[in-house]
């Protein structure tokens, strides 16, 4: 980000005592470990994490498919779950982009909607910018790649915070893969409505990740990872993605103290 590009500039609060966690529908049903790992990591930083049981989905699937009324109904139900004036940490850049950048227009008739949107922080952004976290790497040397979702990169402008976190891990070498900033081809219903184009995109993304010769790739978005991992599994490749919350927790934990994060 440059000095004159103010699009992604924002005010960051002091480290809070409490935060909300927004789990996202994908982590909820497919990858709950990453949600628990994010909570554990935040708790280790001395923060109380509140997880409203009434949360479901940010509404993005309908919104991106052109069903605004349906998206609005679901979005409103989410806003109602987060009434305390504390940060809302989201473990996905694309859901974050939806709630931070698209809610103001989608819910423009709602009073104080901007105040709600201003409380939205993507997970890696929150760790770096608000918590100013310092990580101590306990793991073995390894090479990883980082896949940043397009929403995290271009809507939220937080691709740099994910990178900053991995770079704090002393024994981890971050390898830049070819066409790193290019979309993996997920795009929600795009992958279904234009399956052949999406397939061509994920084929290239997996080939570029495999070329990078890494033991795993890290990402903060389960949408992309469902797409990329699904394609890798289909191709019978062993490379897989790991959510950045799980990866950071694993790298910073002594083996002996591992508990919650490993429950399957």
């Amino acid at each position: 980000m440059t000095a004159l590009n103010t699009q992604h500039l924002r005010y960051y609060p002091e480290k809070p005592k409490q935060v909300y966690l927004y789990g996202t529908c994908l982590a909820d049903t497919l990858y709950p470990d990453s949600g628990i790992d994010a909570i554990t990591l935040l708790e280790q930083q001395g923060i109380e994490v509140i997880f409203p049981q009434g949360q479901t989905c940010c509404g993005q699937p309908a919104y991106n498919s052109g069903y605004q009324d349906e998206a609005k109904a679901v979005a409103l139900a989410q806003v109602a779950q987060f009434s305390l004036d504390i940060p809302i940490v989201i473990i996905s850049g694309s859901c974050g982009g939806m709630m931070r950048h698209h809610y103001p227009e989608l819910l423009k008739d709602e009073p104080n909607i901007q105040a709600f949107c201003d409380r939205i922080f993507e997970f890696t952004e929150f760790l770096i910018k608000v918590l100013k976290i310092k990580l101590t790497d306990q793991g073995k040397p390894e090479k990883v790649a980082l896949h940043t979702s397009c929403a995290a990169r271009r809507e939220m402008g937080v691709h740099i915070t994910g990178k900053n976190l991995i770079e704090q891990l002393e024994h981890v070498e971050l390898i830049t893969h070819k066409y790193e900033s290019e979309c993996c081809g997920f795009g929600g219903t795009f992958a279904v409505k234009h399956g052949d184009i999406s397939a061509a995109m994920v084929k290239d993304k997996t080939a570029n990740l495999l070329d990078a010769d890494v033991v795993r790739y890290i990402s903060a978005d389960w949408g992309c990872m469902t797409n990329i991992d699904g394609a890798l599994e289909f191709q019978k490749k062993s490379l897989r993605g790991e959510h950045i919350a799980s990866y950071l927790l694993k790298r910073t934990q002594n083996k002996a103290s591992q508990s919650e994060g490993t429950e399957k």
Partner: protein
């Protein structure tokens, strides 16, 4: 505002017979899905596009390496175009007055057929038989070449890329580089096939030399030159033309009659508006600091001047632009200065190429401008063919929020039937709505609006995870199916909190 208000009586058609389907592109755009399957399996095509787009992206990056300068310029150019669009009706009138005062005749066309009729009449009035054409995407919009050919007027494309495309009986696959889908071997084969006496070579300079030789001959004998316009300056009545090959200069100086054609959105208010736009146009398009030629046409040949056309005409085309103009959000579509950076950076365009879109304008800009030209019914597969990755919006020199406009068009396409009699915003709105999809989203919102329904459904789904199908439609054609977790995060959090409490007590 519609252009109709400006159409002088003598140019008015007998009645408004506009039918969006009169463009041949409506049909090819409606075949988007079939076009995509055809072109995705063409490996040579894919490699031509990937190579060319990588090259163009690198060139742009180098030319715009100072990010602060880039941001300043983008903001400035956006504001220029937005100001000019806000004043569009007034500026068009001012442009007409100043052009006419300079001796350049102005004609208004609401439809592509009107534009073609105007141009044909102008040519026939001078008994013109041969036309050389500089690059003009607006004339592609009107399929002018076909129209003139049907009336026994020979029309030769003089831009090298356009010339190649014309020889191959194709249409441009990129708005700046029309023949980018062909590699040098394909061009050599084409020349060998079509140009008498051509000695087969894949040497690029030799290929261009051969094309130039053919074209030079034509320039000297053509009756008419037809070109596009990049900026039409209202303040001074000047037509600006950006080009690299000198063919635009030839088309606008050698033949006695010069006809320029452009869209109404190309008008800018001041001469001072041009330098920043030009600077960002060439750098965004090809990474050039400036184009080799920049032509400013401000009158026909004056007494005592040794060259230049005796007559200059400008045809201003609407073709659906008024529809975009009428809506504040979609008006941003008209900010476009046709640099092509959005297609160069688009992961979809790079893979399917320009012809798959079936439209005159391919790529991200094509997806948002074509629905206004061809109607949503023919084009409703275009706005959905995007992962909304945002690369187009990120590089757009005039900051058109392309992803947001794609969402808007998706929403227009899915609109329920017009039961309350609201004013129709777009031709073909609601034409993409499918009952099954609409019902899915209805049920989806019920489930996600009520956490109780959501949580109990997910509780059951995770318990029945073993019954999940291994195949889920097109998703599993290249991917394994995702597997539901044994327990949801909602449940896991409860357990986690209970454990934390236990540890604390």
């Amino acid at each position: 505002m519609t252009v109709q208000q400006h159409v002088p009586k003598q140019n008015s058609p007998k009645e408004n017979k506009y039918d969006p389907n009169e463009s041949k592109y409506a049909k090819s755009a409606s075949e988007f899905r079939a076009n995509v399957s055809r072109d995705l399996s063409n490996d040579e095509l894919k490699s031509n596009f990937r190579g060319a787009m990588d090259y163009l992206m690198d060139k742009r990056k180098v030319a715009l390496s100072n990010e602060d300068e880039l941001e300043t310029l983008r903001e400035q150019c956006k504001l220029i175009k937005q100001r000019c669009l806000l004043k569009l009706p007034t500026l068009l009138e001012q442009l007409e007055q100043n052009l006419e005062a300079n001796g350049i005749r102005v004609h208004w066309a609401e439809t592509i057929t009107q534009a073609n009729e105007i141009i044909t009449t102008l040519i026939q009035d001078k008994n013109g038989k041969t036309v050389v054409k500089g690059k003009s995407m607006v004339s592609e919009e009107t399929s002018l070449n076909d129209y003139l050919e049907d009336r026994d007027i020979e029309c030769l494309e003089s831009d090298m890329g356009e010339y190649i495309v014309q020889l191959a009986h194709e249409h441009p696959s990129h708005i700046i580089m029309p023949a980018i889908h062909q590699n040098k071997k394909q061009v050599a084969d084409l020349f060998a096939d079509k140009i008498e006496g051509f000695k087969h070579t894949t040497d690029v300079d030799a290929l261009i030399g051969e094309g130039r030789r053919v074209l030079r001959e034509k320039f000297c004998h053509a009756d008419v030159g037809i070109t596009g316009v990049n900026f039409a300056v209202a303040e001074t009545g000047t037509l600006c033309l950006v080009e690299n090959e000198g063919n635009g200069r030839m088309c606008t100086t050698v033949p006695d009659l010069h006809i320029a054609i452009t869209g109404i959105e190309k008008v800018v208010e001041f001469l001072d508006d041009v330098p920043p736009l030009l600077s960002l146009l060439t750098r965004s398009a090809t990474g050039q600091i400036i184009s080799t030629y920049f032509n400013m046409i401000s009158s026909p040949r004056k007494n005592g001047e040794k060259d230049g056309p005796k007559e200059v005409h400008l045809v201003l085309l609407d073709n659906g632009r008024s529809q975009a103009f009428a809506d504040e959000e979609m008006r941003q579509t008209l900010q476009c200065i046709r640099c092509g950076a959005c297609m160069n950076h688009c992961p979809v365009y790079t893979r399917i190429g320009g012809h798959a879109y079936g439209t005159v304008y391919p790529g991200p800009i094509g997806k948002i401008v074509s629905p206004h030209m061809l109607g949503l019914e023919a084009t409703n597969s275009l706005p959905t063919a995007s992962s909304l990755c945002g690369a187009c919006g990120e590089v757009c020199p005039v900051k058109i929020p392309i992803p947001k406009l794609l969402l808007r068009l998706r929403s227009e396409s899915n609109k329920p039937a017009n039961t309350d009699g609201h004013k129709q915003i777009m031709k073909g709105e609601g034409s993409g709505r499918k009952k099954v999809e609409a019902s899915i989203w209805f049920v989806w919102q019920l489930m996600h609006k009520h956490a109780f329904i959501y949580n109990s459904s997910m509780w059951f789904a995770t318990r029945l995870r073993k019954l999940m199908p291994a195949k889920i439609g097109v998703w599993t054609s290249v991917r394994s199916a995702p597997k539901l977790a044994p327990k949801t995060l909602h449940e896991r959090v409860k357990a986690h909190q209970a454990q934390t409490k236990k540890q604390q007590s």
